[in-house]
């Protein structure tokens, strides 16, 4: 068995593996993994990646002499391969921008400006193809590097300015993947016969996909907030932290008269109310550097670090949420009023499970509901 055969056999196997994984990812993309634009971008990215894998394979087989082809065809394939890589880098950066800043990536001028390096690359490739030379192909790693650096820089800015840990980790992921992509792009230009880019791209696509899937596990489908599973994890972490003397407050909030809202206005309006409440909680989480989750039904949980101001007046948080809620309800033109009643409890080192502080917060919540509405309050267990 000649080494020529073994080499091509290995490269072919790698290509088949990468294409198969890319198809699995594309097939597994579901609408609740992001906005419609994001999903379309990711899908195009994956399919274009498969095309790139094929072109890359052909280029390598031609270059190593395993498949005999005239030089003009080799150059044509190289150009096509480089163009594919360039478009992939563009789509990758566009996707990163969509995740980092919806506003920026939505602007038409931005999308057009972002395509500029790609256009330059395309022109260089056409020049290369028509002149039958490799001279202009140096553009390829430059264009790719430019895109990736752009995304990484923006992600670093986001990390620095981020108010929540989820934003920070999103930025960190893009930085990490960007560094890996730059690395494989450099390695590939040094040793073109090793599938650095193909495997490096695949790895970053897999990491993004896994991250998107994890979000679905830990996010509530309706409101997009953290769900109960994630809340349990988070509160457990906080219980462990409380032993190191970082004080945390846990609020349990539920919507006043939610059952009545559902019965009177219907389930769809009830769902809208839940989404508005989620928005108010997100604002509170951002403002108090905390964590918001939907605990279930119409119950929500907010976990915030206990600042001296909050130690004195914990209900400040409840007031903040309710006023944010009133604003959002007005913006959304809800046909009814929504308000929350909250109970809270400090997370103690003696707590063993999330249920422990929750029970204390629940007891306070129940007391307050009775005070406000009288003994016959419809509460969802």
């Amino acid at each position: 068995m000649s080494f020529s055969f073994l080499y091509s056999y290995t490269y072919l196997g790698t290509g088949a593996f990468c294409a198969a994984v890319a198809f699995v990812l594309a097939y597994g993309l579901s609408p609740d993994m992001g906005t419609r634009r994001e999903i379309i971008c990711m899908k195009s990215l994956l399919y274009l990646y498969v095309v790139f894998v094929g072109l890359d394979l052909l280029c390598r087989l031609g270059e190593s002499g395993v498949v005999a082809m005239p030089e003009s065809r080799e150059i044509a394939l190289s150009c096509a391969d480089s163009l594919a890589a360039g478009i992939i880098a563009y789509l990758w950066t566009l996707y990163a921008e969509m995740r980092l800043s919806a506003r920026l990536s939505g602007a038409t001028w931005f999308r057009v400006a972002l395509a500029a390096p790609l256009v330059v690359l395309a022109v260089a490739l056409v020049a290369s193809f028509t002149s039958r030379s490799y001279d202009y192909l140096v553009e390829r790693p430059l264009a790719i590097a430019l895109y990736i650096v752009l995304a990484v820089v923006h992600a670093l800015v986001v990390i620095v300015r981020a108010k929540t840990s989820s934003r920070r980790s999103e930025g960190a992921l893009i930085v990490g993947l960007g560094i890996v992509l730059l690395l494989v792009a450099v390695l590939n230009s040094l040793a073109t016969y090793v599938p650095f880019m193909v495997l490096g791209m695949l790895w970053s696509l897999v990491m993004v996909y896994v991250r998107l899937q994890r979000a679905r596990i830990f996010n509530d489908a309706l409101t997009g907030l953290n769900n109960r599973r994630r809340a349990d994890d988070y509160v457990s972490q906080q219980i462990a932290r409380s032993r190191r003397q970082e004080k945390t407050l846990m609020y349990l909030m539920d919507i006043d008269g939610f059952k009545r809202i559902n019965d009177t206005y219907g389930h769809l309006e009830g769902d809208r109310a839940l989404k508005v409440v989620a928005g108010a909680l997100r604002r509170a989480a951002g403002n108090y550097d905390g964590f918001a989750a939907r605990w279930g039904g119409d119950e929500f949980v907010l976990v915030v670090p206990e600042s001296p101001a909050l130690a004195e007046n914990p209900d400040e948080v409840t007031a903040f949420v309710n006023s944010a809620l009133a604003l959002l309800a007005r913006d959304e033109r809800l046909p009814f009023e929504v308000s929350l009643t909250a109970g809270y409890a400090a997370i103690e080192p003696s707590d063993r499970r999330p249920r422990d502080p929750l029970r204390r917060a629940d007891a306070m919540l129940y007391r307050r509901k009775r005070e406000l509405h009288g003994p016959a309050t419809p509460r969802l267990g």
């Binding site: 068995m1 000649s2 080494f3 020529s4 073994l6 080499y7 056999y9 290995t10 490269y11 196997g13 790698t14 593996f17 198969a20 994984v21 699995v24 597994g28 190593s64 040793a191 016969y193 090793v194 599938p195 650095f196 495997l199 790895w203 897999v206 990491m207 896994v210 899937q213 994890r214 679905r216 596990i217 489908a221 109960r228 599973r229 349990d232 389930h267 769809l268 279930g296 039904g297 249920r355 929750l358 029970r359 629940d362 509460r379 969802l380 267990g381």
Partner: protein, 386 residues
Amino acid sequence: MVSRYICIYLFVDLACAIFAGSLLLQVGEDFGTKDEVDSFRRLSIVFLIYLVTDVAWMVSGYDIVSLPRACDYVLCGLSLFALSPVYYCWAAYVELRLDSRISHSRAARVLSRVPMAVMLVIVVSSLFTNAAFFIDDQGLYQHGPLYWVTLVCSVGYVAFATAHTLRNALAARSRTKRDRYLDLAVCGIGPVIASALLLVVGSSVITSLGMTSAIFLVFCACQKDSIYSDALTGLNNRRRADEFFESRLSLVSNERPLSVMMCDVDKFKSINDTYGHDVGDKALMLVGASLKDMGDDIDGLIARWGGDEFLVISQGEGLSAEGVESRLNASIERACERDGLPFSFRVSVGGTVCREPSMSLDDATLAADRVLYQHKHARTRGGATA
């Protein structure tokens, strides 16, 4: 060309290690049952060890690092043997997912390690007897007469696991179970292809790629399960119920109706208030378990809709709400006695039938809910059901 081959081999092995390692780091306790998590972690770690031995052999065998001949022999033998535990762990994981007798029986587990042991003996003895492999005078690696035995001892595990999965898929009674088994079989395609190529072409990095693809597919499948399962009861969650209903809705007609039943726990709020949330959760888990027992007989889906509400979607009108209710209550009463709960409780079931594709799951659950309410009301009044 030799150097190109070595470079690509080493890099692909490295890439596989990074893939498998990244996924291993992402596995949390919510990945599956504790046994499944342990089994998957074991598989990943053994695979990483295999990759290290593979790289080590490549480096020494091709003299990238010059080592004494004895080292070459040892590393060669190590990389040859290391595949068997990988495929053993894969088969062990598959058996666990199949919930088969083998995974439960201690004797079967011990017996299943015999091929690995045989391979170890042959490989170690090859250092002296050249039985499975040897390195000839020109420094080239050659197969010995017993090489085929070592192949059987590794590839055999893959063949067994695949055959068992497919057999279970064919024998499955419900569509959902069959789909689960087929999904598991698809996860194993990588090792199957890699093993076939191993028999034909010989040792290569395709084996690493095949195993990596299996680890990746299994990881995705388990993530998906987490997405669609309710954390407390392990049943399908609302998200899954929505998607399932949507998918079956297109086939709905008068002749093939879809029945939707809503089931809730009577006086759940007072259970929570009297005995606390812990006991309330336990009651919900009991309902979930009782529903799961019924699951095999339902051509459809069972889900936790939220709070104390459960949903049963089934094809056709064979199932009646009264039938489901009495079965569930009997099962719950038995379970309450068995588990020593301080009380017993009942569930009520109300159902509706969808005959046209224009109905949404929200409409269906609302209708079922209304029937449920009437049913409870009529029962407390002591009158006949509506």
